[in-house]
Amino acid sequence: MYLLRIAFRNLFRRWKRTLLIAGMLMLAVLVFLFMESFMMGIFDLSFNNIIDFETPHITVGRAEYFAEVEDDRERALEETFIPENDLLEEIRGLEGFTALTPVLDFSADFVAGRYDYPVLVRSVEPETFPEVFKNQDYLVAGEFVEPGDEGVVIGSQLARFFDLEAGDFYTLRFQDKQGSFNTLQGEVRGIVTVPHPEMNMNTVFVSREQAAAALGLEDESVSQLMIRMADRDQARERAQSLGGQLAGSGFEVRSYRDTSDFLTALEVFGYVEIYFILVLFLLVGSIGIISALVLAALERVEEIGMMKALGLKRSQIVRVFLVEAAGIGLLGGAAGVILGLIGVGFLTTLGINLDLIMDPEALGLPLAGRLYGSWNLSSFVVMFVFVVILAVVSSVIPAYWAASKNPVDAIHHR
């Protein structure tokens, strides 16, 4: 008990030094928690944007279709298919299934005036599309695609690029299934601004009936079946189980993570980066603890000698130093966690305007506007415990060094 009391009071003996090192540990905890929340927010929002606007929880298509799209970035029309009832029933029977919409994607040049621009044309079934995607909720002008409509819905950036407004004319130039050039013409029916910057420039929406006819495909042809699930977390597991059920049928099932492998890789890189920053901070904190304890041991040589003369064993003196280091870790960890709670609290409730701090589009991230952090309460606990353990581990060598001093030299060191 007395050793604890001495260790506790020693903490405040050089309180500026204690605060400096605890402050470094606090900063490590705070920066990590804040960065992690920010990073989780970025990837959470990015994946949500991908799910809501680009590829939902699960996508089913011909295996060759995915392979060709990956190979030459062209949309392979010969790999389209007409979904059979058995397949649709199997999908609808998935646990957590919410909605399904067929999509027919193809590549085209968007032409207006003297200019053209390569785009992805997403031919949609207007009745079911809103059950899976949210693009139609982000209309800034006009209306969304309707069945049999000849109009097109384009992104706001593309509209700006061509100086188009709802009601203006457009032309889509593309190759049909046979390789012959064809066009679709009509009015720009609506303009959307979705929080997925890339889609505002390179994706246009048309009605599937109209597109299928122009591409020389049957009315019911689709390139992919897009499925919305109740829960994002179960998507990968369900995609795997559906993939298992469809094995040998020529179909491939992909979850949103499979279709956004760039983002998944970026997520890993992001975490490596914040762990690297954390290690740097902790290294500085750890060196701080070591130097503080070495200084403390040098300042307290006579005391250590006296303690030995009183009959304290080396292990007991080591304990005094370890408890002192743990105290610094506790102070730094607790302060970091408290400030982390406040910081992450702000980030999750008020958010940050991304435009002020970065250009997500330049980074290739599917997000825009306000970013909100995410909570990961386990990180608060882990970081707190980790910092305390680190403080204690860092102090082991200086503590043994201090406690191993010869009592005679220690007492008479002056």
Partner: protein, 252 residues
């Protein structure tokens, strides 16, 4: 009955390749209840002798018996246990633990010595602080005490566990004559009523005057051993300025 027996004790310090002898074949016996002062010039081996009989260091050659047990054969932990229970130390620079109050500094020694009951240890520590004249100052930290008060706390800390032996290395070196005399009177009083054995190492004529037995040490050898003196007789007669007067007499 003998508390300490030293047989041909030698202590040699190694400084690089050079051997520096600090004690050269010391034979000495110290009985229980003695009030002994070891004096001699700097570097004569006084502190080395105290370190060896205080189980803080081991002899290079020869044997030291404490209460009949040979110290050279004991492990570091056994020596630590011996110091806990049977030996009290008083140092020139007090060596109090600055983060503990006067009472806690005294109680700490008692707790280390094995007294588990907090009430008992606190009561005893208070009593001892009162005996050394520090009643009402129990809650002061060392930086709130004068040099004399700190040394009184150190005396209380050394005595609280009722050790067989108290070793005091230059206990008055940082104190004025009046305070030195007060502290020595306290120790003498303790020696009388607790029968604790005291061994001092000193240059101070006042401390020498208080000793019943005087051991002179020169070049690592005991050169003089006077026993049966009346402690403090001269200094009480001459007052607190005894040291200066004694110095003056010496010069004359």
């Amino acid at each position: 009955m003998e508390l300490l027996e030293l047989e041909k004790v030698e202590k040699i310090y190694q400084q690089g390749e050079i051997e520096v002898p600090a004690l050269r074949g010391v034979d000495l016996t110290i009985s229980r209840g003695e009030f002994t002062s070891v004096f001699g010039p700097s570097g004569s081996g006084k502190t080395t002798l105290l370190n060896l009989i205080g189980a803080l260091d081991k002899a290079t050659r020869g044997k030291i018996y404490f209460d009949g047990e040979e110290l050279g054969e004991q492990s570091k932990n056994e020596l630590a246990m011996l110091r806990r229970k049977k030996i009290g130390f008083i140092f020139q620079s007090y060596n109090l633990i600055p983060v503990l109050t006067a009472l806690e500094n005294v109680e700490f020694a008692l707790r280390i010595a094995g007294v588990k009951n907090g009430k008992v240890s606190r009561k005893k520590s208070r009593e001892l602080l009162a005996e050394v004249g520090l009643e009402g100052m129990e809650d002061r930290r060392p930086n709130e005490l004068s040099g004399g008060q700190k040394q009184r706390v150190a005396v209380a800390r050394a005595l609280v566990k009722e050790p067989s032996l108290v070793l005091a290395d230059e206990p008055t070196a940082n104190l004025d004559s009046e305070t030195s005399q007060e502290v020595l009177e306290i120790m003498l009083d303790m020696n009388r009523h607790l029968e604790t054995t005291f061994v001092f190492s000193t240059h101070d004529p006042l401390v020498m005057d208080y000793a019943r037995r005087l051991l002179e040490i020169k070049d690592g050898r005991i050169t003089q051993d006077k026993n049966g003196r009346e402690p403090g007789e001269a200094s009480r007669r001459l007052g607190p300025d005894y040291s200066e007067k004694a110095d003056g007499q010496e010069k004359e």
